[in-house]
Symmetry: C2
Subunit: 83 residues, 2 copies
DNA sequence: TTGATTTATATCTTTGAGAGTATAAAATAT
DNA sequence: ATATTTTATACTCTCAAAGATATAAATCAA
């Protein structure tokens, strides 16, 4: 269901969740696209220095794609917002 | 409308489109989140070595977020697929 | 067309990523 | 509980990102 991804940390969480959902290991994912297991580990743990090239290889391995959306201001019901 | 983003190139295109939609310059975007103009230029031009930290700063500057989705297999009408 | 703004390139420096390899720690299975 | 698998860390090496600064090239406006 892919919640808001706004940081290397939340991205890492999403990637790990998708990988587990598919029953894959960091090693198998890495091997399928030529990336070391330790690199996958670091990305999933929120490494902000990870490279875009690496990210997209992981996405390819998991058969995922990205979408860019306007940030959704999380509604605060106490403020009486109506959506 | 944010098409499939599956590479540093397509990501760069999306970022550039969103920035222009908001009428901002690479410099203003960079300044707002502490990134050099030339760095924004490289990301928009598909630099695969760009860092995730940099990407999310740009997204913050543009008030955008990411979503991870399963890759949509582009339908081939000639194959008689029905969706 | 000219002048100004915006974007692309370039150099030098510092810093860290990822490959390759190894191993420790944690999680899973038997 | 113990063996096995998976994930996290560590170290060296090479390479390039981004900062800082400058300038060329392209785009836009008067």
């Amino acid at each position: 269901m892919s919640l808001k991804i706004v940081s290397p940390e939340s991205l890492g969480q999403a990637l790990r969740a998708e990988r587990k959902k598919k029953g894959l290991t960091q090693k198998s994912v890495g091997t399928s696209v030529g990336i070391e297991q330790h690199t996958i580990s670091k990305i999933e743990n929120g490494n902000p220095g990870a490279e875009l090239g690496t990210l997209f290889r992981v996405l390819a391995a998991l058969d995922l794609e990205l979408v860019v959306l306007p940030r959704i201001k999380p509604m605060d019901k106490s403020k009486g917002d109506v959506w």
